[in-house]
């Protein structure tokens, strides 16, 4: 297959999927099969691109010569985009399976619209991943906002409407108000919007303006949820859980930080930012967001809200990695896109499974749940460890690289990272601990009173009758187990990821 065709098919597959879903909307089983097929086909196609990219190739496809004068609608698969595409497309089939279980288990309405918009969101995410220039990136960035809006406001309740306003207001406000301004400014100065190694701005812009331009970009990518423009993310949690899982832990938020990384590497260029020190302030903002996000997560009793604030903090890691403008920082940021994605999607899957099976939303209600939902809570525990960064979970590697990136010149941020890890422990670990070691609340179940738990949920092997009676539908449980395993697998696979992205910053993996 020619590279053009592969890229085209990668992008077309989710759209075709959306169309098929829309056409088969009357027959739920057939419709779900369509989502499944489309998602599997998409990840299959994305995987075929990995080998050439690993060999240093950058397949590209110019669709339209001039989306804007001098700005083609074009795609080029470079390592960072490859990684983001793999994460988004790779987690789609899993999430689809989960979504089927969740949406049916939770008796949601308008499921056809849900799956159509979901597929279109993946399309937009892939478009962002493969964009060869800022114009194309912006186009798909806006498409992603618009496609996810119906998902966020899925329940069409007054609460959903209010959240939708904040969601759209912040995301579109920042993208039009800041990002577009920054892009137009870049084009006016550099005369091009292409992503190039080493950046396009060097020598074209007054260095004194660089911090301002960087700020427009960093806050313009509102999906990166830098404080104080983070409010949309907790609000987006009103969406059904699969949306929170794939979009607001993976595709959408990663679109923001991915764009920041890509802009730092390919528009500014590390050398330019490093030599002028223009990104120093961004490190502090990221560090602040990182700590504040964790601190706020502490006092959230609503499980999804706690996870949302955790996501804000974790996204700031990636922005910090970008702002450090050191090769290790970029690698760490890229790696964190993958490791956090797998970890956080697991946590959200668990939160949704708990909601479906036990109808509980708050952390304080989870006492003793480990007995009825051992698999779910076990997966939750594993994913928490990954987020904290404990080996042998994938998350340990990304934090390692971030710390390395900071160690040379900005050692203070190593301390920040450590403090943050402690905070992560503080707000994540109590959840499985409560579930496994605390006795269930008296009014919930009659069979409580024996205060000893199972330790970790790994005891799931000896599946005795009734053991999993309290679990969510299997379509929910299997995906969350898979992604939990993924957390561990990433620990051993991390060097592949590093080998993939290291060339863009000129270090050997």
């Amino acid at each position: 297959m020619s590279p053009e065709l592969t890229i085209g098919l990668c992008l077309a597959m989710p759209v075709i999927g959306a169309l098929l879903v829309a056409l088969t909307g009357k027959k739920p089983n057939l419709r779900e099969a369509m989502t499944g097929l489309a998602s599997l086909a998409t990840i299959g196609l994305v995987l075929t691109l990995v080998a050439p990219v690993m060999q240093g190739d950058q397949p590209q496809w110019v669709v339209v010569d001039a989306l804007l004068p001098g700005v083609p609608l074009a795609f080029r698969v470079e390592p960072l985009g490859m990684l983001y595409a793999l994460v988004a497309a790779g987690l789609w089939p899993v999430t689809s399976a989960y979504a089927v279980g969740y949406m049916r288990g939770h008796h949601e309405t308008n499921q056809t619209r849900f799956f159509v918009c979901f597929a279109l969101s993946i399309f937009a995410a892939l478009g962002i991943a493969f964009a060869a220039n800022l114009g194309t990136l912006f186009l798909f960035y806006e498409v992603l906002t618009l496609c996810t809006y119906p998902l966020v406001t899925h329940h069409q309740s007054p609460e959903a409407r209010r959240s939708g306003r904040i969601y759209l207001g912040i995301l579109m406000g920042t993208s039009i108000g800041f990002l577009l301004l920054a892009i137009a400014w870049t084009y006016a100065k550099a005369g091009t919007l292409d992503f190039r190694r080493g950046g396009i701005l060097a020598g074209h812009i007054d260095p004194a303006m660089l911090p301002l331009l960087l700020g427009l970009f960093a806050y313009g990518c509102g999906k990166a949820a830098l404080m104080p423009l983070h409010r949309w993310l907790p609000n987006a949690m009103v969406a059904p859980t699969p949306v929170s899982a794939l979009l607001h832990a993976v595709a959408v938020v990663k679109a923001g930080v991915f764009s920041v990384l890509k802009i730092v590497v390919y528009v500014f260029g590390l050398d330019l930012l490093h030599s002028t020190g223009s990104s120093e302030w961004l490190m502090w903002v990221a560090a602040f967001t990182l700590l504040m996000g964790s601190l706020i997560a502490f006092k959230q009793d609503n499980l999804k809200a706690r996870l949302a604030y955790s996501t804000i903090a974790q996204l700031a890691y990636i922005v910090l990695g970008a702002a450090l403008v050191t090769p290790d920082g970029i690698v760490g940021g890229g790696l964190h896109i993958a490791t956090h994605a797998v970890g956080k999607i697991t946590l959200f899957f668990c939160a949704g499974a708990i909601l479906v099976a036990a109808h509980k939303k708050n952390v304080s209600e989870l006492d003793g749940l480990g007995r009825t939902m051992p698999l779910t809570m076990g997966a939750f525990f594993i994913a928490s460890l990954s987020i904290i960064g404990v080996p042998p979970m994938g998350g340990s590697w990304s934090k390692w690289y971030l710390a390395l990136g900071a160690a040379d010149e900005h050692a203070i941020f190593v301390a920040v990272l450590m403090v943050s890890s402690l905070l992560n422990i503080g707000y994540l670990i109590p959840i499985p601990v409560r579930a496994f070691f605390f006795p269930p609340k008296a009014d919930e179940h009659g069979d409580d009173g024996q205060g000893h738990g199972h330790g970790h949920g790994h005891g799931g092997d000896d599946a005795k009758g009734g053991m999993f009676a309290g679990e969510a539908p299997w379509l929910c449980v299997v995906p969350l187990c898979l992604t939990a395993v993924g957390c561990v697998v990433l620990f051993f696979m991390a060097h592949w990821v590093v080998r993939l992205i290291a060339p863009i910053v000129g270090v050997a993996g």
């Binding site: 010569d65 001039a66 912006f138 406001t153 579109m172 039009i176 108000g177 577009l180 301004l181 137009a184």
Partner: protein, 512 residues
């Protein structure tokens, strides 16, 4: 055929101008409708034919009316810009008539319909003539033809308020027209000619003689023309007539006017500032752009858009949005650069298509639920899914989301702002786009988040959606594949900016 083609410039005006009285005589609404549509389609074909013809030429085509050479005779000028404008205007007029097929039957009083079509075509003839004529007095004549017919079209709206809206428009429009006439008269007094190119020549000569001292008569002429055109264009704060006129006119007329009337006047404004008085003089010595037009444009952008948020009906909302959009148009001009005028022409096209499309959607809504009050739109996403979706599509176009025409023109506007180092202005343009998000999303929320009423019936007017989808589809198409149009606008702007002296002397004798 080529013989006929040579007469395209005049046919463009003559076809609708002659069909109009015919319709008034026929008194048969079916026949009148068919003839009107046929005539409008013919002008649309001619309009695009002129674009093609103009694209083939480096210099503007000049057509001598009756074979009399200018500056004595009247000349029609097919420049890239005028061809672009007439093509858009005539196409939207044809689509507006297509829309009118079902709508007008309900909205316009029985027995007046043939007159409605006659007025519509007269208005079209006036607008096209204004854009294509190269004679300053002709501009005024056509301006009045289009204005008078517009007043009567607005008055045909089915609510009593239509009369007061039309009257309001009549008073202000007449003042505007008179000011333009006074301006032209003064220009004639100074230069002794009415031919646009000739005026430009002589004004330039006058300015060259004494570059520092302003010729007071010229200055007064300029001010009269600008205020007059500003009134007709609804430049803030001269926009008072527009919301009422757009809101009370029959739906098809709103669509037609929104897409055409202000656009042609904008073209006149371009000619007046850039050609008549010379860009160097107007934007350089007079500082008209940065000191007058720019602040007014920015105020209009914000005040129009903010007012749009608070309107009770869709039509009024779209009308106030137009006031805001006119702000973008004039802002583009205020830079006084070629890039700015290019952006202005692009926005002219983009906004014409988008806003006309949106008014067509409103027509379908009015046909469906019997009102365009926003509180009556609840649950429209369920009741009329395609209509509601089309509205969202148009709305995102107004905001300027990439993939729509609105984005292309806004991008050009930003680039023009950056090129002339107006960084703050670029930021303000984007900030005001965010206000558009608010007024568009207010409607989206009503349509999708409020439960549809239980007992109300909705009728589906699929025919009304045809022009709406054509226009909005064109907007998306232009948003994704803009290069042809962008090139056209660039060439058109370049042509407008050519010094009058650098044009060859006017040809003598012969026509076409």
């Amino acid at each position: 055929m080529s013989g006929l083609k040579a007469h395209f410039p005049v046919l463009l005006v003559v076809v609708p101008l002659l069909t109009a009285p015919l319709l008034a005589l026929i008194r048969q609404k079916q026949v009148a409708r068919a003839l009107a549509l046929l005539s409008a389609l013919a002008t649309a074909v001619i309009g695009w034919g002129l674009v093609i013809a103009a694209r083939e030429q480096v210099e503007p085509l000049s057509y001598h009316l009756g074979g009399w050479p200018p500056p004595i005779g009247i000349e029609y000028v097919v420049s890239q810009a005028s061809a672009f404008v007439v093509a858009i205007v005539s196409s939207i007029a044809a689509l507006g008539l297509l829309l009118g097929t079902r709508e007008t039957r309900k909205e316009v009083t029985e027995g007046q319909q043939h007159l409605y079509y006659a007025a519509y075509l007269l208005c079209l003839a006036g607008l096209l003539g204004m854009a294509i004529t190269g004679d300053a007095f002709n501009v005024f004549v056509f301006l009045e033809i289009s204005s008078l017919s517009t007043y009567s079209l607005v008055a045909m709206g089915n609510r009593r308020r239509a009369f007061s809206a039309a009257f309001n428009y009549l008073i202000l429009g007449t003042i505007g027209g008179t000011f333009v006439l006074i301006g032209i008269g003064l220009l004639y007094q100074v230069t002794g000619t009415l031919n646009v190119q000739d005026i430009a020549h002589r004004v330039q000569e006058l300015e060259d003689v004494a570059p520092d001292s302003h010729n007071l008569t010229l200055l007064v002429a300029f001010v009269f023309m600008i205020v007059g055109l500003g009134l007709k264009l609804a430049v803030f704060p001269l926009h008072q007539w527009l919301p009422g006129a757009y809101a009370e006119a029959p739906a098809a007329v709103s669509a037609f006017l929104a897409g055409t009337a202000t656009k042609v006047i904008y073209f006149q404004l371009l000619r007046t500032t850039v050609v008549f008085f010379g860009a160097a003089h107007v934007f350089g010595a007079l500082r008209f752009g940065t000191h007058v037009l720019m602040p007014l444009s920015i105020a209009g952008m914000f005040i129009g858009s903010i007012a749009a948020i608070y309107q009770p009906t869709l039509k009024r909302m779209l009308a106030y949005s137009s006031v805001g959009q006119v702000g973008y148009l004039t802002l583009a001009l205020s830079f006084g650069t070629e890039a700015g005028v290019q952006a202005g022409l692009l926005h002219l096209g983009a906004h014409a298509v988008t806003k006309a499309g949106l008014f067509c959607v409103v027509a379908a809504i009015v046909a469906g639920v019997g009102s365009n009050r926003i509180q009556r739109l609840n649950g429209l996403g369920k009741r009329m899914p395609i209509v509601a979706f089309a509205f969202v599509l148009g709305g995102v176009g107004l905001i300027g989301v990439p993939g729509t025409s609105g984005f292309v023109s806004k991008w050009a506007l930003l680039q023009a702002a950056f090129a002339s180092e107006h960084y703050l202005v670029a930021g303000l343009v984007l900030l005001s786009s965010l206000v558009a998000v608010v007024y568009v999303w207010r409607i989206v929320e009503v349509m999708y988040f409020q439960a549809p009423p239980v007992d109300e019936k909705t009728t589906h007017d699929n025919l009304a959606m045809v022009p709406a989808l054509i226009l909005l589809g064109a907007s998306v198409l232009f948003g994704l594949f803009p290069d042809q149009v962008v090139e056209l606008a660039a060439d058109a702007a370049h042509q407008l900016f050519l010094e009058p002296g650098s044009l060859p002397p006017l040809p003598t004798g012969g026509h076409g």
